[in-house]
Symmetry: C2
Subunit: 300 residues, 2 copies
């Protein structure tokens, strides 16, 4: 890729771990000429300015949109819809608007319905990265390095806007891939939202057990790893589950079909069927773990 000598005025609407980390990465890469931000909590902006994450605070979304070329929405899932509509219906000087929400279909449909004139400059985005930590104080310029970012443009997306968002993420060290918006939501339902629901359901089920005390007294490291995601933020996951409702319900149903098949094999003492399913799952999972290790080591 030929390096782009242009620097851009970048604005963040909502500034937590993801927005703050992206701001730091874009400053470090020399992609940002300036970074300004608006957040519903003014103390976040004070802290961010103090930490050098942003250059200035905007007093409103509208004011921010008047002075940026690229606007990034990086707020919690539930707050996304009204804010993206504000950003697009009064897009000011922005050449493109993007976001980092982990569910894309619902937001995309809201934009097409309620801000059709500016929908072309909206490039839906989702960085596949995160941390147990949250808040702008945890911002890390390296958070996206070697991570993947999915963009879900459609045939109406302005190529200039798309190109800019691709460059932005590349500058932050991420690998960018475009995908259909529905496939994105199915993918995330399968690999992230469903596992979270399963972990919450498992801990919930065990917490109801008459031998609950001994269960948690004797559970060991494997159980801790398997249930780690049940320690995730309940509000964030409530919002994600509802925003990706249809794809998540479909993924839950597919899962239950396979679980029911395993149940039948166990009930019928069908060792051959059980071993066959376990073996093919192990093969798939081993292959995935190998690929991921290669990816993490930078070979792929």
């Amino acid at each position: 890729m030929v390096s782009d000598p242009r620097r851009y005025a970048i604005g963040f609407v909502g500034l937590g771990l993801i927005g703050g980390s992206l701001a730091l990465a874009l400053k470090k890469a020399g992609f940002a000429s300036s970074v300004i931000a608006w957040d519903s909590d003014p103390s976040v902006l004070e802290r961010a300015a103090h930490l050098g994450v942003i250059d200035a605070a905007a007093h409103s979304v509208s004011a921010l949109m008047q002075s940026v070329e690229i606007a990034v929405l990086a707020c919690p899932t539930q707050a996304c819809e009204p804010l993206i509509l504000d950003m697009l219906n009064d897009s000011g000087s922005a050449i493109c608007v993007t976001d980092v929400a982990s569910v894309k279909g619902e937001l995309y449909r809201a934009v097409v319905d309620a801000a059709p004139k500016s929908a072309a400059i909206y490039v839906p985005g989702h960085p596949i990265a995160g941390s147990e930590r949250s808040g702008v104080a945890a911002a890390d310029a390296a958070l996206f390095e070697r991570h993947r970012v999915i963009l879900t443009p459609d045939s109406n997306t302005d190529p200039l806007a798309l190109g800019l968002v691709q460059k932005l993420w590349a500058a932050a060290g991420a690998t960018v891939q475009c995908m259909d918006v529905l496939e994105h939501d199915q993918l995330l339902a399968a690999t992230s939202h469903l596992p979270h629901v399963l972990a919450y359901a498992l801990v919930d089920a065990l917490a109801q057990s008459p031998i609950r005390e001994d269960i948690f007294r004797f559970a060991a490291g494997g159980f801790r790893d398997f249930t780690r995601i049940a320690s995730s933020d309940p509000v964030m996951w409530r919002d994600i589950a509802l925003a990706n409702r249809d794809a998540l319900l479909a993924a839950m149903d597919d899962f239950c079909t396979r679980l029911e098949a395993l149940r039948s094999s166990i009930a019928a003492r069908d060792g051959a069927a059980l071993e066959s399913t376990f073996r093919s799952a192990k093969t798939v999972r081993d292959e995935f773990a190998r690929d991921l290790a290669l990816r993490d080591s930078g070979s792929s």
Copy 2:
């Protein structure tokens, strides 16, 4: 605890990671005067002797039982039943017989039915420890340090036999707790066997997806951790699932009830119910993780 100056002749029937590690730990602690072993695979015994894990190989289970005071069955789940009956029906010089199988009820009932005369010297045991590695070459004298061991004696168990097995595990650095055999199996179904089945079912479901390739291409570290146990040995887990069939089916049904409740909340867009379940699961899981961290640091 007053230290016991006595050393014991110890025999292992089946010698893999668990048996080998226990043998090394008991030698190191000065609890074993000698360690002999029998295994269905003679090359395992050669390797173990070469590695200094055992002092001698027995040519049969019966020969082993003639020369030991404590006999430990440490073979795969499926092979346990005939071997424990051989050990008890011809118990030779053994004062006690114990095992390390991760399911206890089925084996216990087989012993009571088929070796009632020697059942009193059988002390069912289960060390809550393991490793991704397997085989005697991976044996580690420290494997059980600070880990828990559950024993499931009943009112007929010989107190001398029980006391010896307690001392044996204490010598290996483990914390020993006695428990009812049915509660043990419920406990393990909940904290270990059910999570394994869920991980296998999840990978199996995703492997059937039309977007399977992208699913595994984009899945990240959280998914890797959640599915790690789906890379476990399929034969071992087939045997465990069948041996602990009743408790596992009950645990699966409890889990499905809670999952179905979450499904209904998502389908009905009932954010309050969803958040409430996620929040209470997070509270329970956070508390468990804190307790486990204290335990691991040796404070509890």
